[in-house]
Symmetry: C2
Subunit: 78 residues, 2 copies
């Protein structure tokens, strides 16, 4: 089962990539109200139910994929 992990920098953390995208867009006359840049990871885990897949993915994400001090994440079944 494939689980998508959406990782974003926390609100209070300086998101330099997001600022860079905002500046680039502004220079090309696109107007956006904000932009945050994070990571997207798809994990293909062995599981018979969605709950089991999400549980495994959460464990892996917290173990190796994110830094909880500066990042938050959301899981989704793909």
């Amino acid at each position: 089962m494939i689980v998508g992990v959406k990782i974003l920098p926390r609100e209070e953390v300086l998101d330099s990539q997001g600022r860079a995208v905002e500046n680039t867009l502004q220079q090309h006359n696109y107007t956006i109200n904000g932009c945050r840049v994070g990571k997207y990871i798809q994990l293909n885990v062995e599981a018979s139910t969605e709950d089991e897949a999400l549980k495994k993915a959460k464990e892996i994400t917290e173990f190796v994929l994110i830094n909880p001090l500066v990042e938050t994440f959301q899981l989704e079944i793909v």
Copy 2:
């Protein structure tokens, strides 16, 4: 309106970050069938309908966020 952009490397492209995650997990006795690492971006665009928001986000994504030779993307309303 906030639009999420999920970007992944194309299947045929070597995903070195994905391989690194797989190897790390294997060394710690987690078994996964695969892992792909990409980017997740949230764009806060000015729009009155979801269709308009998705249209603007698609334009911005193709203009500045992805390299279509090696990456694919999916949009979602957050």
